[in-house]
């Protein structure tokens, strides 16, 4: 029997959730709904990411509010946990067991019958690229191999919601690429995946949808580029490499939205309050002046910039997060 399916209920819904550890605040008054696809849970260390993950995994009871999976409270409803796969940040694996034995154990705990669990464990491990180490003891595994074993244990019972806490930590580039490809495939197959990380480029490789947590609150959520556009107190930077950067700068400074220019070696970095108008102006200026442009790009157009802006600036209204629409 499967858990009762509430089709209308979103895979993840957090309702006014707060968690305190004694006097220490874990998260504060977070309300969030996550739909199908990959969502990056971002934030510096200690921001409250793991607390949020554990609330969603049913490992923490909220001090206030509710964490729901498919409309059911995950802390109290065991049935709905069958639809959940969680790969924690910490180790917690049994070194004495082989990878296959460990993942089989996890499959059985999720209700997969013993006769089938072993096959599913093998398939999950092969899927994640551990086919050559499937019967090796975990004791001899590298950090990256352990990460992949944990990932396999989170996927082995075919869950609908997958929570991955820092899943790429310690992985070599090949393993990283393998895991990223696997996560993308899962998302394409209709799963809801929440990935917690403080390494932004990892998340950027997977999704543009983010929830940015800082000091226990949601600072921003939605599409990362939309969020960037909403940060109007920070001018957008555009970097242009060309043969005559000073001439380009002189012409650009005539635009009223340009607030600053800065020269680098063979390049000029322009700060503007209206990126769209600047991008319209640049081709015209380049053609008029006959400049030879080698490259054009924005150092702000990535998660790191968004992350830095939101976490280093003092939020003027912490209760009103930036919201990036789609």
């Amino acid at each position: 029997m499967n858990a009762p399916v509430r089709m209308a209920a979103p895979p993840i819904h957090i309702e006014a959730c707060s968690k305190w550890y004694g006097q220490v605040l874990g998260i504060q008054d977070i309300t969030l709904t996550v739909k199908q696809g990959v969502v990056g849970l971002l934030g510096p260390n200690g921001a409250g990411k793991t607390t949020l993950m554990k609330l969603l995994a049913g490992l923490l009871r909220p001090s206030r509010g509710r964490a729901l999976l498919f409309g059911l409270p995950v802390i109290d409803d065991l049935q709905v946990r069958r639809r959940l796969g969680y790969a924690p940040e910490h180790e917690g694996v049994y070194d004495e067991l082989t990878a296959r034995e460990f993942v089989t154990l996890m499959a059985e705990l999720s209700g997969v019958p013993r006769a089938r669990a072993r096959d599913q464990a093998s398939a999950a491990l092969v899927d994640i690229g551990l086919e050559n180490a499937i019967d090796r003891r975990l004791h001899g595994f590298s950090k990256g191999m352990r990460q992949r074993t944990k990932l396999a244990s989170a996927l082995v019972h075919d869950p609908d919601v997958i929570l991955l806490d820092e899943p790429l930590t310690g992985c070599d580039p090949v393993a990283r690429a393998n895991i990223i490809a696997r996560i993308r495939a899962l998302a394409a197959a209709g799963k809801t995946i929440v990935i917690s990380s403080h390494v932004l480029y990892e998340v950027e490789a997977l999704t543009q949808e983010i929830v940015l947590v800082h000091r226990g609150r949601v600072l921003a959520e939605g599409n990362v580029y939309r969020i960037r556009e909403l940060i109007d107190q920070h001018p957008h930077r555009v970097r242009i490499e060309c043969d005559r950067p000073r001439e380009l700068a002189a012409r650009v400074l005539g635009e009223e939205h340009v607030v600053r220019v800065q020269f680098e070696d063979g390049a000029v970095e322009i700060e503007t309050r209206s990126p769209d108008r600047l991008y319209d102006a640049i081709p015209r200026i380049v053609l008029d002046a006959g400049l030879a442009v080698r490259s054009l790009g924005s150092p702000d157009d990535n998660m790191q910039a968004v992350f830095d802006y939101l976490t280093t600036a003092t939020p003027s209204k912490p209760g009103k997060p930036q919201k990036g629409g789609k």
Binding site: R82, G92, Y94, M106, G111, V112, G319, K320
Partner: protein, 300 residues
């Protein structure tokens, strides 16, 4: 103020052949057996502290059975004169001392670490993010440890008692000897409980394997011995109740008709002490697991 937010890709979901598993699932009521199997599997793979005592228990069984057979032949030649039953029971009772010793090693190696290691490594996150209740976990761990340690402290005396019955010269003799089987079972249950529950409770309380192992060994070897001597020398049987090994001995001696020491507590008192220690261990275990299951323990 909280605000409603929705994130997540809402684009096209590509069908890649994903199909939900719709087959039979392991009933939740039997999920504790998965934990039990894991206890046995990890114990067997992990430590010589498990294999050697189990080998010792098997050797004790073989030697004791051999002595029983030899004694039976001697008694048979003597024409059945003089306390045959008493001597056979004596072998069983004495052998229990060895079974108990191997049980102590097993408990110190595995039972004290059963919860402490999971607490330290963060395994709870794997367990309790799945459809598993804390009580299932407790049941699974306990059953695994009872089976493992019971291989020495329960199976040893019970198998010997069965061998003893089988060695009877005729059916009447066998029927007469039958009561030693339930006696051995009782002794096995008491002895196994006295090892498993306090040991696992200690591990749950202290949360660190080495500390729990040290405390357990110090208790069984130093404190118990000291308490037994003090109780015996000062004729204070109630003080002797604090020594679990002596409590088990008193119960065993009573069951197998061994003469009791004047400084020993009454058998019912010793039995009650075993129950109290066991319940205390169980309560410590259960409280720790129930609180830790939703405390978000993530390793240290």
């Amino acid at each position: 103020m909280s605000s409603e937010r929705t994130v997540g890709a809402t684009g096209t979901i590509h069908d890649q052949g994903y199909q939900r598993y719709e087959g039979v699932r392991l009933p939740r009521s039997r999920r504790f057996l998965v934990i039990t199997r894991n206890v046995l599997a990890t114990a067997w793979k992990a430590r010589w502290g498990v294999k050697l005592p189990l080998l010792g228990a098997v050797l004790t069984l073989v030697v004791s059975a051999g002595i029983m057979i030899v004694m039976g032949q001697i008694e048979s030649r003597m024409g059945g004169r003089g306390g045959r039953l008493l001597r056979a029971d004596t072998v069983l009772f004495i052998s229990y001392g060895f079974f108990s010793l191997f049980g102590i090693i097993l408990a110190a190696t595995v039972a004290t670490a059963a919860i402490a290691d999971d607490l330290k490594s963060g395994s709870f996150q794997f367990y309790f993010s799945r459809p598993l209740r804390p009580d299932d976990y407790v049941r699974g761990k306990l059953l695994g440890l009872f089976v493992l340690i019971g291989c020495s402290t329960f199976a040893g005396p019970v198998v010997l008692s069965i061998i003893r019955v089988c060695l009877a010269e005729d059916l009447g003799g066998a029927i007469k000897l039958l009561p030693i089987i339930p006696k051995a079972i009782l002794l096995g249950v008491a002895g196994t409980s006295a090892l498993v529950l306090p040991a696992i409770g200690l591990g749950a309380l202290l949360g660190k394997r080495v500390a729990a192992q040290a405390a357990f060994i110090v208790y069984w070897i130093v404190i118990s011995g000291f308490v037994s001597v003090v109780a015996h020398e000062l004729r204070l049987p109630l003080v002797g109740l604090l020594a679990l090994n002596s409590d088990v001995n008193v119960v065993g001696g009573y069951l197998f008709g061994m003469p009791s020491d004047s400084g020993s507590p009454e058998p019912w008192q010793a039995g009650l002490a075993i129950v109290v220690f066991s319940v205390a261990g169980y309560v410590a275990l259960r409280r720790r697991i129930r609180s830790s299951a939703t405390a978000g323990l993530g390793g240290v």
